[in-house]
Symmetry: C2
Subunit: 249 residues, 2 copies
């Protein structure tokens, strides 16, 4: 069996944030599989077939990738950011566990990428420099009550928080409710960062206090970071820096 499957992260957008091992995997591949906008980040070339599919097609896409690898193809499944953070790696393993037993003998490797959370944190300063948590705010695959419970416990633990998928057209109210829960649990001056499309031409970083945050500040391309009680802002010419000190009381 000469086929293989590599599940890789393309980072947040800029080619300069794609690791050399991922670039090498893409060079060796016969097939690239993923959500259309991510597959389109891989340049076409002779000998490479690009299989783009729609959002919410993750399991079918994972099965397709596993089957292609079984047939001897060298398959790269692409995600934005890191493949292991709310992305394709878990979907592939769900399909693997539920699917044909022969898939388990495949040569499968996950290659990490610069996650949206780490890229956003770097642009803002170092808001994740102390203990933190990372929550997917989409309730497509879990009940909203569980998200609220996690928000309240994270605030009680005084974690900084990174939020993926804060808001979309199909989920217009969840992020408004998130802000309400945070306002009940955190002080009004708590720092919140809206990092949109980091490392792309559309990049924007906005820092505000929780009391001034509005749902419209986030969309599906926004990674939101809420500081802990310790998180601080350094004023300077140009953009301020936001960081969480290493120590806590």
């Amino acid at each position: 069996m000469s086929g293989w499957l590599k599940i890789v992260g393309l980072g947040p957008g800029a080619d300069a944030m794609i690791t050399p091992e991922v670039t090498a995997a893409l060079s060796d591949a016969t097939d690239v599989v993923g959500y259309v906008p991510y597959v389109n980040r891989v340049a076409p070339r002779d000998g490479l077939t690009r299989h783009g599919s729609d959002n919410r097609e993750e399991i079918r896409r994972a099965e397709q990738a596993l089957q292609l690898a079984l047939e001897g193809h060298r398959v790269v499944v692409v995600s934005s950011g890191d493949p292991g953070v709310f992305a394709m790696a878990s979907a592939v393993f769900e399909a693997l566990e539920a699917g044909d037993a022969v898939w388990r003998a495949l040569d499968i490797q996950v290659m990490p990428g610069i996650s949206a959370m780490l890229a956003a944190s770097a642009r803002a300063g170092a808001p994740l420099g102390h203990d933190f948590c990372c929550i997917n705010l989409s309730d497509n695959l879990k009940p909203w009550a569980l998200i609220e419970k996690r928000l309240r416990l994270a605030a009680e633990a005084d974690f900084a928080m990174a939020f993926y998928n804060p808001r979309s057209k199909s989920r217009p109210v969840g992020f408004e409710r998130t802000l309400e829960v945070l306002r009940e649990a955190c002080e009004p001056e708590r720092l919140i960062i809206f990092a949109r499309a980091v490392s792309t031409p559309d990049e924007s970083i906005r820092v505000t206090a929780l009391k001034d945050a509005t749902p419209e500040m986030a969309d599906m391309r926004t990674l939101v970071i809420v500081g802990s009680r310790q998180t601080r802002l350094i004023e300077r010419d140009g953009e301020p820096l936001v960081y969480t000190p290493r120590s806590a009381l």
Copy 2:
């Protein structure tokens, strides 16, 4: 002022996981500043001065880097993994906030890296594929009671957990206590991953159940990941795969 300061992440160990933007920054630098073993990962060359310093020297090291940049040097501060996760970015900003006001006018940039957490997760499968938290188990800069509180709240939230700095010669008992707290809060079969020195020649990955975990399985080069209640193990020839499904009840 022609100097600049870039705070970069070298990733977990392998050159193939260093991003091109970090490689370019190192090529342009006149000075590299950091903890000795990380500075030693940057090859010597004409025109580059390497300033290695001891562990726990972070603030003095940060001040040195800021001062060099002020004097016109092109300075790269190196961390292992990502510079924003329990690493040098927060230390630089602590020094910046407390220090000479002229430092605030410096050209400062943070460049993300593949964090130990993401590299460990990729090697094991996708244990961080659902909501998770990240806790530094060192009590050098925070009280142990705060760590215990966070462990209990993280278990109640059913986060997967990534632990940095689980154990060292100067902190021999903390990780033993961590395992005790987790055994009180989690079921005995909870999956736990010990990922040591990922992407280096010393790499090892060990997966076990919480009931079978012992303190000796971790050292300062180990990143520990504790699954959530949902985390699953896929048996196969060779290493098993550990992943957390995207959905939760």
